[in-house]
Amino acid sequence: MARASLLFALALLVCGRPSRQKPAVRLRVVSLVPSVTEVIYAVGAERSLVGSTNQCDYPDAAKAVYKVGDFMDPDVERIVALGPGLVFATLPVQKRLVDKLTELKIPVYVSRPQNVEAVFREIDSVGTLLGVRARAEQLVAAMMARLESLPRHTDTPRVYVEISATPLMTAGGHTFINGLIERAGGRNVFEDALQEYPVIDAEMVAQRDPQAILLLHPDVKALDVTSRVGWSCISAVRAGRVYDDIDYDLFFRPGPRVVDGIVLLFRLLHPQGR
């Protein structure tokens, strides 16, 4: 689906240009996906951006861009009024909107990278679509280099990622964050879960005995977790390796800061360093 949209958008661009020179009219772009907004700024194509969502808040400059509504429910009319040549959206959250835009014959690029490689490919695509391919390739190369430069690690600590405490919820093996944990040299203790975000209970966590715990929600601090009744036997709690106050966007946004997230995770999981 993503590929089809991409091709369609590309075809439109290519066919729309009579010559090989830079276009006189710049492509007007609306981004409904915070991670894509970050990509657009990272590849220097922010002048094409005419609309974004309330949640598109990075970098700071993005906050000033005209808002077409909430990520969960953007306003179709506002989008159309901007006369965009291309809209970035995501599925399944924005399905109704995507259908609507397709009906109105507005080109839509569906962003849904499932892992880090897909993020690299997406940065390339966005760069191509917005005429800044070279910058995009540079960015990707830099990100890849940073990943390569991560030191060898001798161990692969077991990690428990907590998405919520009411009820206890974690991320399963088919999630983006699972891939990040792997890249950072860790192993998600719930990678075998069938669901994407399964609800679990304390016993399951205790049995899998994670060596590090990541708190990806604001409800609890590390201190609350270490003082949980029945959790004292867990290795992560005993070693005090419970991490709160993490910038979740680094893990939940499949964008240019993804490598920042991986590096951060790496440092948390392998504190011995090089």
């Binding site: 405490a165 009411t166 609800v199 049995q207 949980r228 959790w231």
Partner: protein
């Protein structure tokens, strides 16, 4: 009622609860070391206590409301009280931290608002008819459930959390501090149950008609108010820890009445025992039948809904 038979039934109820408790503690992932065994048992014991508290209170409140409203089709869930409590808890959750005592308070307020709203909606010329109550309860339930979703979305929570708040779970985590909130809540809950139990005779009397109750010396307005407030506190407390669990309060009192007769002095404590056991068994099923577990209300609804339909048809 045959004395011997009654004693046997009480014994049976107690035994059922003990069995359910053993099951609840015995089934589950195994421990990997002696030290972790203690922790595992602590976790299971918390779950057990929560289950007994929730099942017992919901069933007892169900029996009480059925008596007060002269209606065998009501329980905290069908009256929308549980959903109201869930809404109150959701609001408290979004506003405050989860380890605070906010949650039970929010639950109580939500439950009270719900029960008053349903009662006022269903009252026609000073009388409360069955259809009116059930209808009002269903409407309120819908309304509150939708509001829970809304509040959770506005508070940037995941849908999964919202679902579990409305479908029930026994896996709440407690810190060394918040467990005291739970202990106090349980103590309050038990006190509330005993208090409701003391209204047994009046509940018996009210089950005829309002005027009969008045003529027999029952202050129906005071009774209604007292029962509503205490029930709301109890339901609010439970739901703030476990989310809204369906149909336990509906089905269990009927089973208990069939075994022990309708006198509330027996039905209320009997419902507590049976409700606790039933909920523990449902929890064991919910956790183990499907990998990844199910929300509690799915199991209780699977049993409760056919029973509800059967009851409806018997009355009509």
């Amino acid at each position: 009622m045959n004395r011997g038979r009654t004693t046997l039934i009480w014994f049976g109820l107690a035994a059922f609860l003990v069995l359910a408790a053993v099951l609840s503690v015995a089934i589950g992932p195994s421990a990997f070391s002696a030290e972790s065994l203690r922790a595992m048992l602590a976790l299971r014991f918390m779950r057990l206590t929560l289950g007994i508290f929730a099942g017992g209170v919901l069933a007892l409140v169900g029996a009480t409301l059925q008596g007060l409203l002269q209606n065998p089709l009501v329980d905290p869930f069908t009256l929308g009280v549980a959903s109201g409590a869930a809404l109150g808890s959701a609001v408290a959750l979004v506003l405050g931290r989860i380890s605070s005592a906010f949650l039970p308070l929010g639950g109580f307020v939500g439950a009270l608002v719900a029960i008053i709203a349903v009662y006022m909606l269903a009252r026609v010329r000073g009388r409360v008819a069955t259809n009116g109550l059930v209808l009002a309860g269903v409407i309120m339930s819908f309304l509150f459930s939708s509001l829970v979703m809304l509040v959770m979305i506005l508070g940037h929570r995941t849908l999964g959390e919202a679902v579990y708040m409305m479908m029930g779970y026994l896996g709440a985590v407690f810190t060394q501090r918040s467990i005291w909130v739970f202990v106090v809540a349980m103590a309050l809950g038990l006190a509330g149950c005993v208090w409701l139990w003391s209204y047994s005779r009046q509940l018996d009397i009210v089950s005829s008609s309002e005027e009969t109750a008045l003529s027999l010396g029952v202050d129906t307005e005071r009774l209604t108010l007292a029962v509503f407030v205490i029930s709301s506190v109890l339901v609010g407390l439970v739901v703030s820890f476990t989310g809204a669990i369906s149909f336990v309060g509906l089905v269990v009192p009927h089973l208990v009445r069939m075994m022990l007769g309708p006198a509330h002095v027996r039905v209320l404590p009997g419902s507590f025992l049976a409700g606790a056991g039933v909920l523990l068994v449902s929890d064991v099923l919910a956790r183990n039948v499907v990998p990844g577990g199910l929300p509690l209300s799915i199991v209780t609804a699977l049993v409760g809904v056919p029973f509800f339909i059967y009851l409806l048809r018997r009355r009509l």
